[in-house]
Homo-oligomer: 343 residues x 2
């Protein structure tokens, strides 16, 4: 649309027109109980008449805060991130905060840049997930953080609040379930060791074999990246190999997309020819076309919790020690697993 001509009314326009000082107008807005009722009415009438709204830029400047929180994520079209965002936003909105969303495409460069540049007067705090806990650019930025921050599912030996998922027990449970119904050649496709979910999932997987004193098929662990492409590639090669797995665990919802694509392409029937367990419920897992067996967690809770941690930091817990909140998972049985034929 065309920009409205004419400048917006300022606080001094209001002051002028209602015959009081700008200070009084300001107090009318921010501390009405310090203003005489008669004055209050008069000033408010003028405010309405002029349609005055305080300029957020000036407020931010003077108050030294922006009432804005940055949310940095690699891919907002991942529904899990979107749900986390929504939950965090709802919580923060109640406390008067807006959200800056930055989509980094998982590029360390963009992540570091966003962390660096958001801090200097654009946001009062950050909620974020980064793509590589070891990346030196990001770590430097995180070490030099000037605003309260919360990490999502990432673990760094810096004093930063975090909301973490207890992936290892989840994967243990899923793997154990598959072992229980007779599978031995179980594959795991998941993130690499440079992020916590990758490490933890592998850990839980390995442990499930160990607990039963079974040899873990390390050659079936594909721990590298959380992308559909990686899922597709690994699932394809696993299923085309000589000694194919009888079950696959897709460690991540993006991985699942690739795995399903491979399954579709090779016309593999689930669960008859292959059992499938995935992580996190999505529309796809609920509807494909029967529900899949899933290691689930409460994503909204994660967003809400992150927001709460941040709000406490922004409030009176400025300097309290960093906290890590652990969110647990649970196995939900769907129709994508069948007992493995013996031998």
């Amino acid at each position: 649309m065309a920009r409205k001509t004419g400048k917006a009314a300022t606080i001094s326009d209001v002051a002028m027109k209602s015959g009081v000082s700008v200070g009084t107008v300001s107090r009318t807005l921010n501390a009405p109980d310090t203003v005489r009722p008669a004055t209050l009415r008069r000033v408010r009438a003028i405010i309405d008449e002029l349609g005055f709204q305080p300029d957020a830029r000036a407020q931010n400047m003077r108050r030294r805060r922006t009432a804005t929180v940055g949310f940095i994520v690699d891919d907002i079209s991942n529904p899990l991130h979107a749900i986390t965002f929504k939950a965090a936003e709802a919580e923060l909105r109640e406390h008067g905060y807006w959200l800056h969303l930055v989509n980094t495409e998982g590029k360390a460069r963009q992540e570091a840049d966003a962390i660096e540049r958001l801090q200097h007067g654009r946001v009062d705090g950050l909620i974020m997930t980064i793509n590589n806990e070891k990346d030196v650019q990001c770590r430097d930025r995180l070490a030099a953080l000037r605003v309260p921050s919360v990490l999502l599912d990432r673990e760094i030996e810096l004093a930063i609040d975090a909301v973490l998922t207890d992936h290892a027990p989840g994967l243990f449970q899923a793997t154990d379930y598959l072992l229980e119904i007779g599978h031995r050649r179980i594959a795991l496709i998941t993130a690499g060791p440079e992020i916590r979910p990758g490490r933890e999932r592998v850990k839980g997987f390995v442990e499930a074999f160990g607990r039963r004193k079974l040899a873990c098929p390390h050659e079936l662990i594909r721990s590298q990246r959380l992308s559909p492409d990686f899922g597709f590639h690994e699932a394809s090669s696993l299923m085309q190999g000589p000694d194919r797995p009888t079950a696959i665990i897709a460690g991540g919802n993006r991985i699942l997309v690739g795995v399903l694509k491979a399954i579709q392409q090779q016309r593999i029937v689930i669960p008859d020819e292959l059992s499938l367990v995935t992580c996190d419920s999505t529309d796809l897992t609920r509807l494909y076309p029967g529900p899949l067996t899933v290691v689930d967690r409460d994503i909204e809770d994660i967003g809400r919790t992150a927001a709460q941690l941040l709000l406490e930091r922004l409030g009176d817990r400025h300097n309290a020690p960093a906290r890590r909140i652990l969110v647990s998972t649970r196995l939900i049985l769907g129709g994508s697993c069948a007992p493995s034929p013996p031998g």
Copy 2:
């Protein structure tokens, strides 16, 4: 994490330490070609040494802009919106803009509130979709818009730039295809007439029957809301009724989720017992478990285009007449339709 102690360096700290005036430091940053090379080097060294970054709040205030664009949407966990957002963000980022994302849950109140409050110094422009074109709160706000804005798939008789999808031809094509392969009892479940996609889809649907001089089964048009619940409810009742449709068109990706749930629940086999066409490709339509037949469009293009429209407005086209860009659709045949058995 704990807030860093010690204040951030300001421009005058830099000025002091490097023995020049603040003006010169400012020009070092914003107009280096007006500064003597020797001075430039000296000031830059101090900037690095102190790790000085200009305070965005002060810049926003003084420059009377925020380099931020608001993105208002009812549900960011809808992957279509998320993809639109990503594309718009990528485009805007290249031009130095950040994005404020507001998730309104489709509530007119929150929409109006966001429009109203973002404008006064939080953003330089808006990209948005609203839930009800007729809602008086929102319309008032839109009529009083003070920043350049772009509407996504909404049509309002105000001079506001918009990116619109040509839903009617898309639905015409889909319906015509179903008619062609023998279907007559075709149902359409889609948004209500209070938003453009609802109106346009119904229009294209009706027209397809008309063009073939066939009676349109108006009782099979369910045009109300773009939600999974609505899709589920309508699909369920349609498929349980006495004279059930042989084909359903899910007019919207959220609707599809509900429709598939109903299909799952009633164990209806696609395409043998029911042909299905949906709108917009998602992971679900590509993988369920064969690809669905879909009225597709280029979502990224929509986001990019919206960003470009806005950038032009923010640039030299301040007062140019409003533009509406039409994005077309195309029918992609999947495996979810089969010829209808005669009679």
